[in-house]
Symmetry: D3
Subunit: 191 residues, 6 copies
């Protein structure tokens, strides 16, 4: 029902919900190898039931105001998504992330969608610290963090195993005042 | 984050969620007497906690794909809402409803919002039968059903007590083919 | 332990509980085709586990005072049952229903049992409105509603799919004062 | 709905359920001092809510086939009850018990009701061992065990505190073959 | 992390937890025939998952302060255990038990471990009555009860089926004052 | 029951469990101001019930193998503790922490206890990365991390509010090979 246009190329951001299970699975199957290079997202969603389970876990998080999943549609086709992995309004923190199938990469979709998520978190929900975590080997992800004006807080060494190798996990963040300042600057520069 | 414009008067439809509890309570307090004439909606939501509880019950329904709550905002102020009281994709049925504070009445807000809900239910989710229930004494509500092109299926006699009197409950419905036909006709008439 | 005699033909009404699973399954297997003509009752109970699951769902409803299942035994053989599909003492409403295997049809068993259920609902539990729903194609069921002195409240068009066809669902009801009046009249006529 | 006559004095055995909460509370209040001499039954049920809670705990046990509560009514007044404290069909064991308000004592009500419970447990549910536990100080209770033909298995010393004193708990039991033999003998003696 | 030495032969008592599942299963497999002579302990734990399930059930009991499992390690090898089958601090009672693989039998391991459990229950947790239950046919188990200074409270006749035969269940117990006296006497005798 | 001596000054490490609620509350009350300087630990545990709730939350974590609480006793008096805030055996990570009342500070208790926890995590449970988080303002805590041979991974800026000020959160860690190397070096140096 709800959709937010991300620009003139027909890209849209929409809630991604359990009833999308089959569409989500088809998308994962197109992107499985590409997505799985650096992150485990969707690795366990290999049929309609397990895909629905993954979507349901985020529907439950959303109901508990503890996270949420948003899909990216390009010309009516689900091609990736952005998400709140964690959301803690009381503490004023959240962690955001993303995934894409190859056909959707390189168009700035994630950055555009992420601005909408962070605007909402900061302006509507009073989030003070927005965090981004990525394997140090995951350059595209780290580039998103940079483009969003985030700072690198540090590297959590050998944090989790992915495809047999423990990954160094870079933590980036942007604080609410930084976000608002950067937004104001960008608005001025546009004029 | 998400919002659907309902027209040029600044009215918007948005998900209504537990974190809106205080805004929702203020709205209920403005409309309590008016809303309570015919329906019990919100009667138990008398402070921030009970307001949040009501919103949470719908957040849980939404996570279970069994219902959902959507607020109506007019110039940034929550003035009412439309909802799926029940939603059963497997059976192909849903029940919709609404409530308004007095300041928002008489502008067609509910009808406009309801078209969006029913379009989504019918087109995206495969719902075959959309139901509307209202006390036979609730003329404004029954007028909405009429404007939406619904038919009266019958009257469930003395179905529930409201303010000490058992209400006759009219059941109205529109079926998916009827909805699509009426929409097509309306589109032709617009030209 | 408990049993209510339904007359001189040896028919009895008893609670139907999870431990009856095998007896219930055998009965369903004898009546499956006949029962399934108009209603989905028991369609998913195809082995001991799924039969127990169905019985358990009603045991749980009964514990929550939200429904209940009662079997009809003829000469010690389970041949059908009557049930509260919903029971809402606070609202003062309930929905009743029935099913039979062919060997038990045509003897008035359901009508006799239903009088006991409705007497209890009205006299002991303060139920005001007793509802009966049946596909308009299900004449035997609608005849029961008539024999119980119910009125037709309306027809919920194309309410649910059964064997590939959406069924029109007739809603019948009897209100507590109507029930008591009819009973008093019948008692007078007996003298 | 269901009731089993216990004889010509108008005594009846019926399921005792959460909706009886107020009637149950009134009965407890009449018998509180008497009942509480030896057992803690009902001690925490001091208002309608806590009375309903106790009844609900047995409704849940019954739904799980793990116990059950049955009231004794004398001339339409609840005066006591018999119960399955535990019921384990798989293991073939159950524990039975009772309570009475003073006005109902000395009439053999419990013994009559207990025969019905044990008959059902042994004949219908395949229970092999029926257990009865009573404080050694509770002579009326132990007399019931004797009248039911039970044997004393032993005394669990200082098993639980009641009114500040740890009670020795006598365990009595009757096994299915013993029960059937005694019943057959009694039937012969009646002739 | 935690371990209590049981003497100079390298025997140790440690919490036995879900992460020990594989070690526990290997131990059960070595002792299955021997352990199963008299008790059903571990009979359902036949692979890593079911072994973990058994351990988890006791981890949950421990979290609820309602029981607990402790392993016996001999030279670093799990060879048996002692347990609180029930633990009820409010009522002041607990039930203890044990199991061993054959290689660990005949060394007094259980008696040594049990003294530690009972000391803790009586001294730290205020338990008044410690119970031991064993099939009357299980002489080694009954000898442990004797060595712990317990008294026989009685025999629960034909209490549960084991390998097709209903077992008479002896109940033994020691009360806190008895335990403390015996301990004091033993301490004096040591000097 | 279980206790690990931390040296010749009578300090001991023991599981800290819900039944310690009153002892735990008394300890918190002695240390509340001191503990609360930098961390929120125990801030909500202000009476026996809330103290038990905190302990129960860790008992539940332990049952789920997701954390655990261990108390430090000095001459039989609870004076602080060490804990696994998170424990994830599958991912190979855990987060450890500590708290002390003033009387127990400056004796190296936490460092001694922490070595035991980390040894167990690394040697017994296969944890690869042990994490320590502390406000950058919390020098005593950061000194513990240093003494344990940890490295600073970074600073999560303005991570959480404490007493009205958002704290920069330093993340320190030690990896399993580092831990083993340092231990081996220390062992050699001792000779």
């Amino acid at each position: 029902m709800y959709a937010i246009s991300l620009g003139e190329d027909g890209a849209e951001l929409r809630p991604l919900e359990p009833w999308h299970a089959e569409e989500f699975l088809a998308h994962l199957n197109r992107g499985r190898e590409f997505i799985g290079q650096h992150i485990p997202f969707g690795a366990n969603a290999t049929d309609a039931d397990s895909a629905r389970e993954l979507l349901q876990s985020y529907a439950d998080k959303r109901a508990a105001d503890a996270g949420g999943l948003h899909g990216l549609w390009l010309d009516g086709k689900l091609v990736g998504g952005v998400l709140f992995l964690h959301f803690d309004a009381e503490r004023g923190t959240c962690e955001v992330g993303c995934w894409l199938e190859p056909a959707a990469a390189g168009r700035g979709l994630v950055t555009r969608a992420m601005r909408i998520l962070i605007d909402w978190a900061v302006d509507e929900r009073g989030i003070h610290r927005v965090e981004w975590q990525a394997s140090t080997a995951n350059e595209p992800s780290i580039n998103v963090a940079r483009r969003l004006g985030m700072s690198r807080d540090g590297v959590l060494r050998e944090s989790y195993p992915h495809r047999g190798v423990r990954q160094d996990l870079a933590v980036w963040s942007v604080l609410a005042p930084e976000w608002r300042d950067a937004r104001a600057r960008a608005a001025r520069d546009d004029h």
